[in-house]
């Protein structure tokens, strides 16, 4: 294999978003006929790298060699047409067209009269699936297929376009075990056809079963590339987390109080199941896990933002049926959502107004909004959070991400909650704001609030939490006290070594 030349070669790729580097000087070679696994924890830069290879993003620095030519960048369409295909988790196909139409979309075989030659198209599509060794009815509409089969269609589409490089982005995350077997059989076949595969998966066992080489990314840097034999499970996890940062556990000796919120057997089909935990007053309970492990969904169920199908929520000793976030807030449960832009702020409105939403109704006077009283309360939190710039009447769009996040947190402080759910409280936040948010969390904890903190940042999880839950595949995979938690242990649980769900 090594005597071949690589078909795709990334050279010193760098990329940053609004000043924050996401990838720095990453090299990557892909050889025909190899399965190259790309590993790294959340936020290591994997998806950015994939998007650069598939043409969706343009690298800030570096070049891409493909088939002996050097390109600074290219369009997704060019990549698609020239044999670089990405099979995304969220499938990029047209639901209302048939399987065959999807495969040949934009490239349909035509008859003499420039009509679409359906019979030939179907025949060709069937031939592709035959080559893949997959049994598929190419005449049905894509939307009637199961997700796993839709993935197969995406692969077939790539093959029909003479794919040379195929990127599989967590292809098995929605697969059952038998479907995974089928996919692996197919991948072996693709290897024989000298297709280079870049394989991203969180299932470590899969990596060792199917991979040839592994590249590990961490914080946007290339950590190590090596043959699969050079790794074992432990060393792989170690190189993914392998930071030498000393983690300062915040332990101020305060004892936590009694249970305030307890969740039993919470579940919703296809999202999460069997979630049980207890949250104490004056406790920060961290929730770790990979993106897609169902943490946000769990939070939304607790908050009443989505309807739960199973399970009980016991709050302050009483079982409650939370109907809506409105209801949850009235009870004293608040959520700082993960997606600040989509769910955290109301654009074009002032910072103070954004912080005041929970107060507007409570503080009304003669039915009218009593801005004066509201502003007073808002201002307290505004000052405590040290939101910059110090003008609460500024349009919230004009603030930096960190200050917007403080404002969103401030909104929940104004709501006077007893339980706060913080979903990725410091994502996309600069270091200064991050420390300030930690400080606020600690103050709240000391005041006796209970905080459920969802975080993908292992260091944050370990430094801030009193206990840590780890979720994987929509379930709780385990629990650590802050003393016994290590990055390796958390990641090993999160990576869900126990195989697939469903």
């Amino acid at each position: 294999m090594n005597d071949l030349t690589p078909i795709l070669k990334l050279k010193q790729i760098g990329k940053s978003f609004s000043g924050i580097p996401v990838l720095t000087n990453v090299d990557l070679d892909l050889y025909p006929g190899e399965v190259h696994c790309l590993m790294g924890e959340n936020g290591a830069g994997k998806s950015t790298l994939i998007k650069i290879i598939s043409g969706s993003y343009t690298a800030d620095s570096g070049e891409i060699d493909y088939l002996g030519q050097t390109y600074p960048s290219y369009s997704p369409r060019w990549a698609h047409r020239n044999g670089i295909n990405t099979i995304y988790q969220e499938i990029d196909l047209v639901p209302h067209l048939t399987v065959a139409e999807n495969i040949f979309l934009g490239n349909e075989p035509l008859t003499k009269f420039k009509n679409i030659n359906k019979s030939e198209m179907n025949k060709k599509a069937e031939a592709v699936f035959n080559d893949m060794g997959v049994d598929m009815d190419v005449r049905v509409k894509l939307q009637t297929l199961k997700v796993a089969n839709q993935q197969l269609v995406a692969i077939a589409k790539a093959l029909a376009f003479n794919s040379k490089v195929m990127i599989l982005d967590e292809p098995t995350s929605v697969f059952t075990n038998t479907e995974v077997e089928l996919l692996f059989k197919l991948i072996r076949k693709l290897k024989e056809q000298k297709i280079a595969l870049l394989y991203i998966s969180h299932h470590i066992e899969e990596i060792f079963e199917i991979g040839d080489r592994i590249t590990v990314l961490r914080d946007g840097n290339l950590v190590r590339t090596g043959l699969i034999g050079e790794f074992n499970k432990d060393s792989l996890i170690k190189s993914m987390v392998g930071r030498d940062v000393k983690i300062e556990r915040h332990d101020d000796g305060k004892k936590m109080g009694g249970v305030i919120l307890s969740v039993e057997g919470l579940g919703q089909d296809g999202v999460v199941d069997d979630i049980s935990f207890k949250l104490h007053k004056g406790e920060i309970l961290g929730v770790g896990g990979l993106v897609g492990a169902g943490r946000t969904e769990m939070a939304r169920l607790v908050m009443g933002a989505d309807r739960r199908q199973r399970g009980k929520v016991i709050y302050m000793g009483k079982e409650i049926q939370i109907k809506s976030p409105n209801h949850a807030l009235a009870l004293g449960i608040g959520l700082v959502p993960e997606d600040r832009k989509q769910e955290g702020i109301v654009p074009m409105r002032s910072v103070s107004e954004n912080m005041a939403y929970s107060l507007i109704e409570k503080r009304a006077r003669f039915g009218l909004v009593h801005w004066k009283a509201i502003k007073k309360m808002v201002l307290e939190n505004f000052t405590a959070l040290n939101v910059q710039p110090q003008s609460p009447e500024k349009n919230i769009n004009l603030l930096s991400g960190g200050n917007q996040q403080k404002a969103v947190l401030g909104k929940m402080l104004c709501a006077d909650c007893d339980v706060l759910i913080l979903d990725e409280p410091t994502r996309g936040v600069d270091v200064g704001a991050r420390e300030e948010i930690y400080k606020v969390m600690k103050d709240l904890k000391n005041k006796g609030l209970a905080i459920l903190m969802i975080s993908s940042d292992l260091i944050e999880l370990m430094s801030q939490s009193d206990r840590i839950l780890v979720m994987a595949g929509g379930r709780i995979a385990g629990e650590f006290s802050s003393a016994e938690a290590t990055e390796e242990k958390i990641l090993a649980l999160a990576l869900n070594q126990g195989g697939n769900q469903q």
Partner: protein, 340 residues
Amino acid sequence: MAKLLEKIMPSEKANDAKGSLGSTRKSLNSNLKDIIQLLGVLLGMIAFAAILSKGVFIQPINLYNILTQNCILLVVSLGQLLIIITKGIDLSVGMIVGFSSVLIVLTQDFGSVLPILFALGAVIVIGIASGCLVHYAKLPAFVVTLAMSQIVYSIGKVIGGGAAVYSGFNGSPISPGLLSLYTDGIFGIQYPLIITLVCIIAISLYLKTSIGHFTYTIGGNQKTAYLSGVPIARVKITAYIIAGLLACIGGMLFVARVGLGDPQAGDALTMDSIAAVTVGGASLSGGAGTVVGTIIGVLILGVLNNILNLLNVPPAIQPAIKGGLILLAVYLNSRKISER
């Protein structure tokens, strides 16, 4: 005028100082700039009309007439404004005007006040239906209100026998009290103007209540509003009810002015109200729009009509101009928003 502007406009200094929170809440500067721009357009048009008419246009009587002529449109536009702020659109306001006018005339047998209460009750039901379909069934607002306009129009025709109606079921004529609305007034101001003014104040006040203020919130970002505990259903459905009520008042004014009820009375009002609201700076992507802007929008349309008449543009082509105006306003608003 300048004083007034200064009053509304927060100075930069006040904005940055920490203490002066009370006065500057809503007027984000961009909002104010829009209104000044609109005022500029309106004044420019008035000046143009004045020159064109050699001064006749700005005679008080003419200006007064423009105001009274556009009362119904203004009242209806206020309702449309609420809906557009929620990121919806109400294509049924015009037909509700017609329907209410028919209902009010047909129920004249019950005295002069009851008919109006009947009509208000009926449009509340319509508003609740539209609001629920938009909120709970999550159907697009324009489809719901388009369908609703058909239903309402059709009911108006059924009860009125398909044509304009001049008296109640039992033949009672329209009560003189109702008809005098357009002829009488107090302090020399006609009642329609006073009613309109009351509506303006009521809506301005409503937007300052908590539920009213949330109209902006859900239009600005419904997901955030939901997670922040804003009672979305209540806010949305109330908006549709109020839009219906205002259309009903429009219907009442129509009866008073014309002396009949007609299912087609409000035909042009749906379009005109959308035009007025969008010209007045409200964005179809929700969360923006002001009462003041809407008033100016209505006046711009009114003055425009006058100018077109002065220029001898046949009234026939006016729908085309309004259609073009809506497109232009929406286009400019959408560009403005993407710039921000």
